[in-house]
Symmetry: D2
Subunit: 341 residues, 4 copies
Amino acid sequence: MKAVRLHGYHQQPVIDEVPEPTVSGPHDVVVKVGGAGVCRTDLHIIEGQWAEAMGVGLPYILGHENAGWVHEVGSAVTNVAVGDTVILHPTPTCGLCRACRAGNDMHCIASEFPGLSRDGGMAEYLLTSARACVKLDPSTQPQDVAALADAGITAYHAVRKALPLLYPGTTCVVIGAGGLGHIGIQCLSALTAANIIVVDRNANALKLAEQLGAQHTVVSDGGQVDAVKDLTGGDGAEVVLDFVAEQGAENDGFAMTRRAGSYFVIGYGGTLTIPTLDVISTERNIIGNIVGTYNDLAELMVLAEAGKVTLHTRTYPLADAQEALHDLDAGEVRGRAILVP
Amino acid sequence: MKAVRLHGYHQQPVIDEVPEPTVSGPHDVVVKVGGAGVCRTDLHIIEGQWAEAMGVGLPYILGHENAGWVHEVGSAVTNVAVGDTVILHPTPTCGLCRACRAGNDMHCIASEFPGLSRDGGMAEYLLTSARACVKLDPSTQPQDVAALADAGITAYHAVRKALPLLYPGTTCVVIGAGGLGHIGIQCLSALTAANIIVVDRNANALKLAEQLGAQHTVVSDGGQVDAVKDLTGGDGAEVVLDFVAEQGAENDGFAMTRRAGSYFVIGYGGTLTIPTLDVISTERNIIGNIVGTYNDLAELMVLAEAGKVTLHTRTYPLADAQEALHDLDAGEVRGRAILVP
Amino acid sequence: MKAVRLHGYHQQPVIDEVPEPTVSGPHDVVVKVGGAGVCRTDLHIIEGQWAEAMGVGLPYILGHENAGWVHEVGSAVTNVAVGDTVILHPTPTCGLCRACRAGNDMHCIASEFPGLSRDGGMAEYLLTSARACVKLDPSTQPQDVAALADAGITAYHAVRKALPLLYPGTTCVVIGAGGLGHIGIQCLSALTAANIIVVDRNANALKLAEQLGAQHTVVSDGGQVDAVKDLTGGDGAEVVLDFVAEQGAENDGFAMTRRAGSYFVIGYGGTLTIPTLDVISTERNIIGNIVGTYNDLAELMVLAEAGKVTLHTRTYPLADAQEALHDLDAGEVRGRAILVP
Amino acid sequence: MKAVRLHGYHQQPVIDEVPEPTVSGPHDVVVKVGGAGVCRTDLHIIEGQWAEAMGVGLPYILGHENAGWVHEVGSAVTNVAVGDTVILHPTPTCGLCRACRAGNDMHCIASEFPGLSRDGGMAEYLLTSARACVKLDPSTQPQDVAALADAGITAYHAVRKALPLLYPGTTCVVIGAGGLGHIGIQCLSALTAANIIVVDRNANALKLAEQLGAQHTVVSDGGQVDAVKDLTGGDGAEVVLDFVAEQGAENDGFAMTRRAGSYFVIGYGGTLTIPTLDVISTERNIIGNIVGTYNDLAELMVLAEAGKVTLHTRTYPLADAQEALHDLDAGEVRGRAILVP
């Protein structure tokens, strides 16, 4: 089959012909890929940022955001059958550790991360496990929802964690209205009555944000912290969801929170530099976020099927993976780029 | 009356003769001070760290950790009467703002902070308000409990916030077994079955920590992060309560947390420097903490009256305030120094 | 002034001429009433159901759901001024007890309940306290929002408590689409993506429910439990909000919950009869609800000012109080009846 | 092998010779039983109370509270190996449904309940699944801990749910200091600083309760509700844990709760009869409880291994099952009866 493989850090992945995966263990599931999202993390992978943490050998297939149809199942798989339309939780988990037994799939001590720690879904077929499969309505087109598998679940997970803080009268700042952010805005609109302020340096992204439910938008041109303060009576926001967290956004984000507020770090790349006096004198929190639970993904698919979260996507043939990565890096993708094998 | 007043930053406070305070508003309460705790924050005040945040005019009376007996009450005070033994929440609050109406006294938008923003309790009498008074059993000696008013409430508040994370089988690291830390250890012992590891550079403090319920102690001599990792199977702790948060402790503390763990900042003085990748890849949290609610203080007094939290104190006459501050700064106070007017 | 007073149980209240109230305590506030809601509780009061619990002497003025303009304030009132438009939390509270200090106004140990335990707002003027006043935008018409003071806060409080249970994919049944229920439906629509099923015996009420956001409606004609089961795949709902809780609804409501579900009792009058085996074998909960917190009311007013909760009201002159009570009792009021002095 | 089988309702189970179970599915685990607890639910099963709910065919082997050593494992079992000492969660679960994915094992839609819905552990060997096995220190004696598998997990689960309500200064009433209750008291002592009042009709049970940490005991002789009120300043308790919930305890329990309090139903057999007015006017809750999660059991084993929960047991040879059931029914077992094959 055709697959998009990374052969070396700081160089572009290429299209290789590789063998199709097959089931071996009782919970294995092979999925025929219908759509594979292209994510900023793919750029970070290529830059080598995840090399040490994941320790994966090169070459390997990229793609951690996948949906498709079940192609083959192991002997103990009961929750899906060949032909089912599925979206895949990014981390096949063990189901037996404390984290799995508490529903915190993203903290499984024995999970894998296809596309980061082993072959991913930028290919015709993908090997995953029964525990990663969320069954969808058969009318769903995988390429329409694939980006929910990682961008979506990550945005939803952060929003869901923030919900108890976002009662009527509060403000939520969203930094970055791109692939994750534009989903986060829709989740906020569907699940809260909070005042939403979106900060981005791209005017088109802000225009999309308004259409998706933002009450206010702020161009990130140097005055963004002051602008947020002005929009919140000088106080700042109860919650800031930072989908960027690099190039200065990470310190802006904390500065935009009000007393007792919480700064949710979702993007990455920058470095927080914060005096502990600032943390304690106002009792503010910095909340880490990564991916989400299996149930998060299932809940998000309910929102998607109800039309409350719709993805803005741009599809590319699998063979055009390099172009998709380039467009993302150049800031030319509104919403999410999707490879279609 | 005699009072300990600060006349300039970076210089020692002195004993002045000043007029006694009197009630003017309907909720005013004047308390005859029975004990006034000496806190690391007093050292920070003298160093000018709080000057900008508080904007108080000099000279003024120090002392934000007070207990005593009600001496005079305003016309609308119904919860205490002259002669009652009381411990004082550090911030007299308005009772009308959103934070007060949610029980979050420490975030009142119109609170004062005697000893930081106006005259405090290192004096014979202190002006406070009805909403700050927690009534105690008349047999209680104010000098025995005064340190619970700030050191105690702050430690208890952080522990109480951490409780849902500290189920049986988890580990809590306490950095700093001094004035706040030795109370925090007792609160943890009284309210959780968690494994408690205490980190301090002072061997005597660690000895006290063991007596108060620590399962393990670690000398802070450079290898403390590795030592905590070793004691937790290589993972780190679910919760770290950092009562120091300066001189490197602030980055140690984050490094000691495990995946999905939470680092509670309670002390201050240092600066966090943390890549956002480290925050998100392990989904860890940094939690700010300051003082606590009125109900926190009332709950802590229940523990104290039941003998589950006992203070290790060293009393000084009011006139020896400089000596007490010196001893604290020199690390020569085990537990808490208390001025007795 | 004119006032609607109850002189005896099981008889209609009458319009009396009584003296206007005046401020005496420092926190007293006299409000010129702009709208006073007529509630099913008023019918229950007349029937004597609250006589024992409240122990109020007759005659007294009914009306526990009020909004208007500040007319006179006590010496210590700082949060409102004469002329301000206000809606009133139903229970002026002490601000000093454990419940008040935790934000649970409805459990204040020293609260009063004008209209139940002392003179209420079906009059030209009402005596309340500073702690009951929520300041509104001056353009707000009190008669448009008065019903939010009790019907609204009660419905909102129950919905807010249920929110953590109502993630996407869950179902919430609302029993009773009347004064409280039609507000509850709007709060659910504004704050959740849950599937809403409304049960009522009145077809017009169900029609209104659909307009307000119900996905499904069920006529309460004997087959309502089965109908809810059918609409939920045979399982029942995660949450049932019962705004009736009498005449059989109280046992229907529990029967409509699914395994691990919660039945919220908001209306009253009936008697639960439930085997403990049914409670434990499915681990279901029965949750009591009454009024709500001051902050609940403030949050609800944010929804109202944003147009997310709009009241369906029918106004009557104060002199027509008997007619309004009659119409309510006869089931002829869609939404809420409001007396306008 | 020898097994205790029920052949008909309302008659005693008998010792039969039956074939040993063997593994067939990939997750199957056969355990050599080291201890099987005898529970009041066994009496209820014999009385036919669970017949309809479980729909199990007779005869079948009783015993839902088991610990032992792994004897044989299926091909996909990775978490335990032959020879491991294990305690068994009572319900082998699917690991794939919403409830399992949220950690709520007791609400698995495809679980079984050995001893209730299929052959249980009052036998030499028991068939269970990998997901039910909690691995123990090899020095643990199964007969010493078996009762934690059901009595223990059920008591712990209820206590853990109540923890957020039991801050210092609150009171928890425990009704019934028998098999479950005496574990519940120890969990409360280990995890809270609440005031514990134990109600039982047996003086010996109350004596044990005092040794385990109860501050007060009340003989259940008709005046128990008044006695609890007297011990709580007339208010009642924040939390009541009712391990009986039959023969009148179920209505006592609700009557013992204070305003905003919660009544936890854990035992069963009686019928609640409660006016909805009483539920709403004081905003009290009735909380169902059953068994607990896998993690609950793992946490409880931490308390047990630390010596914070110790079982009071009386062992019987498997052949004396009828005698053990008789003694339990006659109220002659302090703590828990354990069959040892």
